[in-house]
Symmetry: C2
Subunit: 435 residues, 2 copies
């Protein structure tokens, strides 16, 4: 039986589980692959740093470039743009198949790295970069290759789903739910990348690239985080039979010129509680896909964690190694589509708008007039009048849900409503999906 | 650009959609595949029969053997064992990649057909055979190839899920729900294969074969249908916060000799309403997987229907055609495991037992003694006393849920309880999963 040399770059939580499985399950992996997968080394900055999993000290090296040389399969789990990007290029130049879980890098350089691997006839796989253990990329790339995806909506960030789910089930404010998530290890000390939607945006770019066979990068993604979501928003959603989720969305839309394009976006979204994505709790991830022939599909699983993510990495490693064993070129991406990215202004969506207004006659008429001027129609309105706080006149809380309209018209409506003298504050603007 | 000859065998609901997509989306499929997919003919018994989709008359032929000769990809959608099996063998002998949706055939001959394709270096794909549009086979085969599956539980028959879901939401009896399903086209005029669990059993054998890398066939599957499920069972499940689903289950278990094996089974099952599978409504399918590293995964989508199933077929066709384009051997199955099939007697499970007993003192004690004799402990009991029907003495309805125990002990307990003079009738025995 052939032996393939596997080089591991990075040994954090995921990497240490990958190493453990390669060592502990070597016989089973060999039987499935048709070749022995020999872990030849692990490149890290500090070979003596403490790790979750006990691994042979002799495997560690600080010389990643040397390790990559001569490897058959390189697993890149360093994260960050450099030196990860350079090492992946060196691995491809040296003839190795590459498996990466580095979403930050891939969201920026996937088309370029895919082209390099393709030219060399090598496989580049990155299942773990989106939705952890859920094999969503393979599904989109292979299983739906004979279909046409029309829309992808994903809960792809476990931290924000944990926070929003906790706000929904306990009524907590955002700051308290975030603090609890940090205490329990679901959010990092610096949670910016998660709560501002940046992590989800990187995954959205990768999902869109595969789903629509066209390169998209982070710059194409409209991104809003969840820091503005309040306990009042969550309570109002609940009253309306809905739930707020941070969704990564990529969909075919008609651009302002009438031609087809793809809008890629991340924002907090109101969803009916009947929608399959509404039932995704805690730190779980899920991706909901609409395809022309397949109809509705949903895939659910753990989005993070050392063991689940290691499972996705190993799936890629076995697949790449089998390809080496049976011969032939690596699987290539098809970026044959040439649809363009469409800005969010051009999409059709509906808004939920919450505001505080003076409680006096004519307020609703004034607001409704502005909706009409922008051609936006109101599907539902709910008003709660409450006694003023000390020193204020009476105030009314209003929540509108619009019918579907163009984002630019909806946004302009909100701006004009905000300028009305009778309106004290726009407290919330959320898009609604899944109706 | 290369042109690949595609032969289609069978043109029912799925086949006609496959043909339509091959013809209508030819350019897009060519871009993704790297070769043009030319539909060279459609073998049917009656070329002039009316079809759902308008297709060129010149494509139809009654000579399937001639059509298979010289094809690069053969799509078999005839169903049944023969002539489908012979034609697939001829296709492989002639050097064609084969895509089949024929679960009846595959449940009996998958290991043999896989071996033939493997020896010839050709791809044999059959995504559409299990769970329609859900690409579950590719997931198990490829994405989880670096992990170890411990349990698979699937709702893989849309007809029975439609019936059970209707019974749950309307309180209908089985016969009425079946009649309604037939009226709406969700059940066939002869519903035997669905309601007796045989269709699900065929899919269970295929799921088990891929999940555990070991050949299993229909004879290894313990099979119970849903004809015995009553409105009273469904109502009692609802009272207990549960729902009844027909599940196809394959799991690693310890056999009676202490060695590991796989138990494959289909039966109506009580599931907590919190379980992800409980939220699968109507004719939708879903497969829930537990793997050592990936943890819990679930995949949801349409299980039947011409367009969704055609999407799965086309995914296989594009994948097989890409392989022909880039060269190298077809993907091979790994049936390297050698775990044996374990009879259901050996599994650990828990029972829900419903019975009618005489309403007199000492009944519960008599029943409890039998449980104790078999080493089975009771987790919950609920008693409903009701006035007797005319001519009967008073009767009591009892429902027990047991703790986990060996199936053989649970079954023996039921038999001994049945023989008690105070017990009028065992009305229901259901296994409980997902606790």
């Amino acid at each position: 039986m052939k032996t393939l040399k596997v080089a591991l770059l990075g040994c954090g939580n995921v990497g240490s589980h990958v190493a453990r499985i390669l060592l502990d399950d070597a016989d089973e992996l060999a039987a499935r692959t048709g070749a022995r997968l020999e872990l030849v080394g692990i490149a890290v900055r500090s070979p003596d740093a403490p790790r979750d999993v006990q691994l042979p000290r002799g495997l560690f090296t600080t010389d990643a470039e040397e390790l990559v040389r001569g490897a058959d399969v390189v697993i890149e789990l360093m994260g960050g743009l450099e030196p990860a990007g350079t090492l992946i290029r060196q691995a491809i130049a040296g003839g190795a198949a590459v498996v990466s879980g580095n979403k930050a890098l891939l969201a920026r350089q996937l088309p370029e790295l895919s082209a390099l691997a393709d030219t060399a006839g090598l496989q580049l796989s990155y299942e773990a970069a989106v939705a952890g253990a859920i094999p969503i990329l393979r599904l989109i790339r292979d299983s739906l290759s004979g279909d046409r995806v029309t829309k992808v909506m994903g809960i792809v960030n476990g931290t924000t789903n944990y926070i929003l789910d906790a706000m929904d089930s306990t009524g907590a404010q955002f700051a308290d739910a975030l603090a609890e998530a940090q205490r329990l290890g679901y959010a990092e000390a610096d949670p910016t990348a998660d709560i501002e939607g940046l992590d989800a945006a990187a995954k959205a770019a990768i999902l869109a690239t595969l789903s629509f066979h066209t390169p998209f990068d982070l710059g194409d993604v409209h991104c809003e985080g969840i820091t503005g979501v309040t306990a009042a928003d969550v309570a109002a959603a609940r009253d309306a039979g809905m739930v707020i989720k941070l969704l990564a969305i990529a969909e075919r839309v008609e651009g302002s010129g009438g031609e087809e394009g793809i809008c890629v976006r991340v924002h907090p979204t109101l969803l009916s509680r009947d929608h399959p994505l509404a039932a995704v709790h805690g730190a779980f991830n899920a991706v909901f896909i609409e395809a022309e022939n397949a109809g509705e599909l949903m895939f659910y699983g753990q989005g993070a964690g050392g063991r689940p993510t290691a499972s996705a990495i190993l799936g890629d490693v076995v697949s790449a190694a089998r390809r080496v064993v049976v011969g032939g070129r690596g699987r290539t991406e098809t970026t044959t589509g040439n649809v363009r990215a469409v800005p969010i202004d051009d999409i059709q969506t509906s808004y939920s708008i919450g505001l505080e207004a003076k409680d006096e006659t004519g307020v609703l008429a004034a607001i409704a007039r502005i909706f009409t001027e922008h051609g936006v129609s109101i599907e539902a309105m709910r008003q709660t009048t409450h006694p003023a706080d000390a020193g204020q006149t009476d105030s009314a809380t209003l929540r509108f849900i619009t019918h579907t309209g163009r984002e630019s018209a909806l946004a302009a409506t909100v701006e004009d409503v905000r300028r009305l003298p009778v309106v004290r504050e726009i407290t919330s603007v959320l898009r609604v999906e899944g109706n």
